[in-house]
Amino acid sequence: MTGLAVSQPVLVVEGLRTEFATGEGHPMVAVDGLSLYVRRGETLCIVGESGCGKSLTALSILRLLPRPYGRIGAGRVLLDGQDLVQVTEAEMRAVRGRAISMIFQEPMSSLNPVITIGRQIAETVMVHEGLDWADCMDRALAMLRQVRIPEPERRLQEYPHQLSGGMRQRVTIAMALACRPRLLLADEPTTALDVTIQAQILDLIRDLQAKTGTAVVLITHDLGVVAEMAERVLVMYAGTKVEEAGVEELFDNPTHPYTRGLMAAMPHLGGAGGGRRRLHEIEGVVPSLMARPAGCAFAPRCELATERCRREAPPLVGIGGTHSVACWVTAGEGVLA
């Protein structure tokens, strides 16, 4: 029983479609039939170019899509078996910040500039656990210690502008973990920080995860981050999942032409080369949401594209173990490549 229970996914997303109403009948589909899962204590990385729908996937899970046009068109978001797409807004509020927390890319703008750091952390605790304010502030202090902020007592009384970017991101982590969530959604938590600070923040997330067993969905542009943090990786392209595998399998045996492109664009993987490179170096651009090609969305940029690719979208198929890929040509190669 225990073995099974531990491996039960905390979060299962099935066939998520996230769309924007356009007023012209057809909605713009930003995330199209995406499925994923993540287990307790595990880190799933979502990688993909800018605009492929990574943030919208995370925001869909929390039901915080941009109003009034964003909406979940189809799919299920199961948190320990409960479908969050179906629950009331009040039930959803009880999930946000308690069962599922999110940290955002911009530590500069994602904290409220006119409220002290202590209050911002404590109010999450107050809202979800209904403790006395003094106890909430105690928890805030404990959290600041946990994320290793120097002089936490003083920081409690300070405002975000009095902290550096790295310190602010520590505060957002403290805030996100204050109610011991089962799942942490981290949307490019280190992209805005410089390299040494990036490494510290990632270490911190990994440490806290090991202590609390929180499941983490980590969104990133950066394959170096993937190599460091992920147990499993999901590669997104234009709103769909194109490949999914364990991290070693993916780096050993990248199969989708897009994934291969990403790897090729990144010669010093996690190495001493210094500058990590972003995923911009594949020829061509992501098709816009309105002008998505009929067949495989990657076809216009793919060297291997065939007639069939342009006609029909490739289904996601398993190619051994937990490795799956959506490609007419390379899926057939199997593990031979």
């Binding site: 915080l64 109010e123 999450t124």
Partner: protein
């Protein structure tokens, strides 16, 4: 903090100085002989000479100014020509109605406009937003005296619900005080409500798009808390500026409402003084209003430091 407050207070002195110069010149530079103007059409040459001596008009400009300034600093604003009473006393008698009307108008506008603006921004683009904005355009475009007379005819003359005109001091009869204030407050307040609602909507709209609002929602906070604690507090600087400016404008601009509703305030005092060319009173009123403007501005400036910790002293 305190050095900043003192600096800000000292910074108002040059402004008050400039106002004093302008008010001083107002009388000296008005066309014709001020003494003759003051004495009126039927005055004899002796009267005019007497007034000239009384006002010190026979001395050099600079000396006149310094003398006058010295009197001001001692709280001597001169005497009304018609009533032969100290100007400061006349103003003091008229302060209560004007202050009561201005404050009640602003309170009315704030109580109505801020919820309206927040609600409109929260549901931007929806029918709620459109309705609120349509109402505010309407309130903004209809002149105060039209609303005033409309209310007088509707509520007082036809329905006999509220007194038509006049003012009762708070100390005399609190209930009558409130009843007399209702109509003028609404008449005057609608314009400010409209203005403040629009400013609130615009700044809230901007604030609600900020990342930290998304963070607040991601923490599981309920919408009222998101809107008021996280949204409104951030949007408060422009809103408070508008409230302060509105208050200053109100105190200066009560002339119309006070006439319509026959309220014996500063506005009425001003009209009477202008009609009678009672220059010392006009000067006193301008100085008093300028002083209030400067004071209100000072309070607004100081409030910023409380509202936004990023504003450094």
């Amino acid at each position: 903090m305190w050095p900043y407050v003192i600096r800000r207070v000292l910074a108002t002195l040059p402004v008050l100085g400039v106002v004093a110069v302008i008010v001083f010149l107002l009388l000296r530079l008005s066309p014709g002989d001020p003494a003759a103007i003051i004495a009126g059409d039927n005055a004899s040459a002796d009267d005019i000479l007497a007034i000239r001596a009384q006002l010190g008009l026979d001395r050099p400009m600079l000396e006149q100014f310094l003398l006058w300034l010295g009197q001001l600093l001692r709280g001597d604003f001169g005497k009304s020509i018609y009533l032969s009473r100290p100007v400061l006393g006349l103003i003091a008698e008229r302060v209560e109605p004007t202050l009561a009307l201005s404050l009640s108008t602003m309170a009315f506008a704030i109580a109505l406009a801020i919820p309206m603006g927040v609600l409109a921004a929260w549901r931007a683009g929806s029918w709620i937003d459109q309705t609120i904005m349509a109402v505010s355009v309407l309130a903004f475009s209809v002149p105060v005296f039209l609303i005033g007379y409309g209310l007088v005819i509707g509520l007082s003359l036809s329905l006999d619900l509220l007194p038509v005109q006049g003012f009762v001091s708070l100390t005399e009869d609190p209930v009558a005080f409130v009843r007399h204030l209702v109509l003028p407050t609404v008449a005057l307040g609608l314009v400010y409500t409209a203005l403040l609602a629009r400013i609130t909507r615009a700044t809230m709209l901007e604030t609600l798009n900020e990342d930290f609002i998304r963070t607040a929602r991601a923490k599981g906070l309920a919408e009222p808390r998101v809107l008021i604690l996280h949204g409104l507090k951030n949007a408060s600087v422009p809103i408070v500026t508008t409230i302060g400016t509105g208050l200053a404008l109100l105190i200066g601009g009560v002339v119309v409402t006070e006439s319509v509703f026959a309220i014996p305030g500063i506005g009425r005092l001003t009209i009477e003084a202008v009609l009678q060319r009672d220059y010392p009173v006009i000067q006193g009123v301008i100085l008093a209003i300028a002083f209030v403007y400067v004071l209100v501005n000072l309070v607004i400036d100081l409030s910023y430091t409380l509202l936004d910790p990023r504003i450094r002293y």
